[in-house]
């Protein structure tokens, strides 16, 4: 509640337009809204000069975002010239030399450079503890980089208002995190409700979404999460993430807690769904088959470092020992049902 106050004042400060001559004054005078204290890492975060000079329109100025120049192919450090990855596409998410350390000094992410292109499904693959989830949380600013910067729509996440940033990014986690005291319909309609949609539009959207994830709205809309099976719950979780039609979708092992049959079923449906939706998706998994089935590109992480980014067909042929280790594990999973 008290952090809420500072956030509100931050929003107010953002609404005040700053004339150019004032904007040129030192940082302390330009009323840059203070970041919520709780989110800030202990050492504070450094912002590179480059990101401050660039024009940032993080708070919904879509037109300005559309007008901005296309990313030069040479700018993409990651395999822009490889076959199968469209170098002329826009980068929606960029990691620039990102490191993330815990307060106790443990390094979870080290010098990560990664680009996620518009409309692609990038799968973050790695063992437990390789920093996949941390990477994901850096994108919607649940965590802030210790050094380097994460750019979403070419603005550093630290320059974004975190609330606006997160409402534009769908987020699905393994534990789903449905609100137990809300009905399915209210869970799904949460973000639109926060955005202040009219009840009629909201209801129509919820119905549409439930149908999209193959749940009958009349039957399931009024149920509570504890009245659903695990697979149904995860469907609701996906529907909730899609509710406000965010262009970016982050999925953290969304099918991880499900039994293999349900998992394969949901994965198949998700494959169809993502073709229809045309979202930029970052998908975290530790399962190679899932990665191969869903990815446009696979980014392999190992102990907080990026081993490499490969299209699925190249990933199978790649020779790095880390990848071979992963692929040899596939053979043991032959019985796992997959589409």
């Amino acid at each position: 509640m008290f952090i809420g106050l500072t956030e509100k004042s931050a929003l107010l400060a953002k609404q005040i337009s700053i004339p150019p001559e004032r904007a040129a004054q030192p940082k302390s005078l330009t009323r840059r809204p203070p970041a919520p204290k709780r989110l800030k890492p202990r050492g504070g975060y450094r912002r590179s000069a480059a990101s401050q000079q660039r024009n940032c329109f993080p708070n919904g100025d879509v037109a300005a975002y559309e007008r901005r120049p296309q990313v030069r192919p040479g700018f993409l450090r990651v395999d822009a010239n490889r076959p199968g990855s469209a170098g002329e596409k826009r980068a929606v998410i960029e990691f620039r030399s990102v490191s993330f350390h815990l307060d106790n000094g443990r390094r979870l992410i080290q010098d990560l450079n990664l680009t996620v292109l518009e409309g692609e499904t990038l799968v973050l693959l790695g063992q437990s503890g390789s920093g996949k989830t941390t990477t994901l949380k850096l994108i919607n600013r649940l965590l802030e980089p210790t050094s380097g910067e994460v750019l979403v729509k070419s603005c550093a996440t630290t320059a974004w208002d975190p609330i606006r940033l997160r409402r534009g990014i769908g987020y699905v986690i393994q534990e789903i995190g449905l609100f137990p005291h809300f009905t399915v319909a209210r869970n799904v309609g949460l973000v639109p409700a926060l955005e202040g949609w009219e009840p009629e539009r909201l209801r129509a959207r919820v119905e549409e979404l439930l149908l999209l994830v193959s749940l009958e709205p009349k039957e399931f809309g009024s149920r509570y999460p504890h009245e659903l099976s695990g697979g149904q719950r995860q469907r609701v979780g996906v529907a909730r993430a899609l509710a406000a039609d965010p262009p970016i979708l982050l999925m953290d092992e969304p099918f991880g807690a499900l039994d293999p049959v349900t998992r394969a079923e949901l994965r198949r449906e998700f494959q169809l769904l993502k073709q229809r939706l045309n979202k930029t998706i970052v998908f975290v998994t530790h399962e190679v088959r899932e990665a191969l089935a869903l990815a446009s590109r696979i980014a392999l992480l190992d102990e907080g470092r990026l081993v490499g980014v490969y299209p699925p067909e190249e990933f199978v042929r790649a020779r790095q020992p880390e990848i071979k280790a992963f692929l040899s594990a596939v053979d043991e999973w032959e019985l796992d049902p997959i589409s």
Partner: protein, 220 residues
């Protein structure tokens, strides 16, 4: 029985003392809730305060009640003879259970739910009102319930500083070495405590179900 004879003969006084007792407890519980619940919420937001606040509440809790009443008498504004002092003391005693339960209830909300809420772009305030408080209302009320039962007991001692209540009978009975008079104060006090416990328990269950806190898995 002689006790009940005594109570029936003096029913007007018993009734008056019970009302006084109830008033002491109700007012102090409301005050304690108004102070401790927001403070508990604050503690979940400002971790640095947590040790201090819980420490202070703990210390207050360890002061014997009779001594606390005694300490308060010479303090201007808060103290003196009468029920104002008693209300201050009872409020102080009720702080800890409510504070601790508010903190524990909010911190105990499923972490996945909190992460989902943050990830979807809820502001801190929205998260508090729409997620954390509804989901912890049962635990918070349990704290209020414990505090109420405790203060019904402690309120009997308030009679020692002239605050009235059922303790009047107990002290009078002690002075007269008359068990009937003691029991005439003790029995209604015990009934009050049981009644408050049951009533708040019911409320806890109601609100819990309403907000889904105690929602049990049902076959569907």
């Amino acid at each position: 029985m002689d006790v009940f004879d005594f109570m029936i003969r003096n029913r007007a006084e018993v009734f008056k003392l019970t009302l006084e007792h109830l008033m002491l407890v109700t007012v102090s519980m409301l005050l304690a809730a108004i102070i401790a619940i927001p403070l508990g919420v604050l503690l979940t937001r400002r971790v640095a305060l947590q040790r201090w606040a819980l420490g202070c509440a703990n210390i207050i809790q360890t002061i014997p009640s009779l001594a606390l009443f005694g300490f308060l008498i010479p303090i201007p504004l808060l103290g003196g003879i009468g029920n104002r002092t008693a209300i201050v003391a009872l409020t102080l005693y009720a702080l800890l259970p409510i504070l601790r339960n508010t903190y524990a209830g909010i911190m105990g909300v499923d972490r996945a739910v909190i992460e989902a809420a943050r990830g979807m772009g809820m502001t801190d305030r929205q998260m508090l009102w729409q997620v954390q408080l509804p989901l912890s209302v049962g635990v918070i009320l349990a704290g209020v319930r414990v505090a109420t039962v405790i203060s019904v007991g402690i309120a009997t001692i308030a009679a020692a500083i002239g605050a009235g209540g059922l303790g009047t009978y107990i002290f009078r009975g002690l002075a007269m070495v008359n068990n009937q008079v003691i029991l005439a104060g003790a029995i209604p006090a015990a009934l009050l405590a049981l009644g408050a416990d049951a009533g708040l328990g019911l409320l806890e269950k109601r609100l819990g179900t309403r907000f889904g806190w105690t929602a049990k898995p049902q076959s569907s």
